[in-house]
Symmetry: C3
Amino acid sequence: METFEVRTTSRTEYVEITRQVCEIVERSGVERGAALVCVPHTTAAVTVNEHADPDVMSDLMTALSSLVPRHGSYAHAEGNADAHVKAVLVGSSALLPIEGGKVVLGTWQGVFFCEFDGPRRRRVTVQVLACGAAGR
Amino acid sequence: METFEVRTTSRTEYVEITRQVCEIVERSGVERGAALVCVPHTTAAVTVNEHADPDVMSDLMTALSSLVPRHGSYAHAEGNADAHVKAVLVGSSALLPIEGGKVVLGTWQGVFFCEFDGPRRRRVTVQVLACGAAGR
Amino acid sequence: METFEVRTTSRTEYVEITRQVCEIVERSGVERGAALVCVPHTTAAVTVNEHADPDVMSDLMTALSSLVPRHGSYAHAEGNADAHVKAVLVGSSALLPIEGGKVVLGTWQGVFFCEFDGPRRRRVTVQVLACGAAGR
C-alpha cells in the first residue's frame, strides 16, 4: 500500500489526484486488476468525475453544501457534522480498473480528493490488487 | 476487462444490467473474488438495488431529481451540472462478491446502470478480480 | 466469503461492525489485499465514518431522513421507498484495504451497518481479496 499527502487550503475544496494514483499503479507492475484509493479520514472523500471543466467539481461542492447545510440541528458538538454527512454521501474510497498496467478512466474522468472540513493535511492510500491467477 | 454497451432513450433512465454482469463473471472462470462494474462516464452511474418492483428504481430517479434540480445556479455551461452531481451521489462503480463462480446478490438485488444525461450510447466495463493465492 | 448477522431494533439505526470485519480478515490469513463488506439487502447500507462520537452517525441518520422524507409521492406500494433511496445514496458495500494481515482504518474510522427499514434480521458478507502474485 502506498500513501501520499494532500494539503487543502479552505474548508471545502476538491483536489485532483489522478496523476498520483496513475503513477502508483504504473510503479506497482500490476498488469490487470484494480486500484483501491482511500481516505483514512471521516470528513473527506474520494470520487471520480469530470476533470475537463473545473466548474463541474465546483458545482458539486456547492450542491453538496446546499443539500447538507453547515449549521443545522446537529448533535455532534465539533461543528463539522455536515462534513461527515457529505463524506458518507460521496464515499471514502474509489476502485479503479487496471488493464495493460494502466488505470482505465473514461475520456472525461479524473480522480478527486474532496475536502469538507479543511484546511488540513490529509492522506490518501492506494492499494493495488492484481486480478489473480484464476483471472483470465 | 470486458465491455458492453447500454443504449438509453431518455434524459434520466435506469437499465438493469444484472444478466450481462453475471454472464461475464461466469465466462471468466473465476471461482472466488469480486466483479468491478464501472461506467467510464461522468453523467451516469452504477448501483445495486431492488429489481422486483420497477417502481423502486423509478422512485429513486424521481427522488434524485428533486434533491438535485436540473436548473439551479450552476457554473458549468453545458446545462448538465445536475447529472454530474447525481452521478457522484450514486457512484461510478459497484463491486460484487463472487463465490462458486457466480455473482452473489441478495434475493431482491439487481445491478442497474443509471443514466442522468441521455439519451446516449454508453459503455459498462467489468473487471473480474480473483481472491488470489493467499485467499483461503 | 463469510457471513454474519446483524439484528436491528428500530426502523432507522446504525450498528458498528468494525470488530466482526476485522476478525474475519485476521482469520483469512491474507497479508495484503482488501476486504469487501456487503449487505445483500436493498433497504440497508454499509459505510465508513467516525466511531468515536456516536452523535456523528446519529446526525447522519437524521440528515438522511430530512433529505429523503419517509412519506413523499412515491410509486412503490410497500411504504419503504425512502429506505431504498437512502440505501443507494450510502451504498451497499465498502472496500477496506488490508496490510500486514490487518484492516487499515484511519484513527477515527469505523465500519457501520445502516438500517433504513427495520427492525429486521440482516446479513453482512465479507469477501477477502488478496493482492495477487503480481502485486508487489
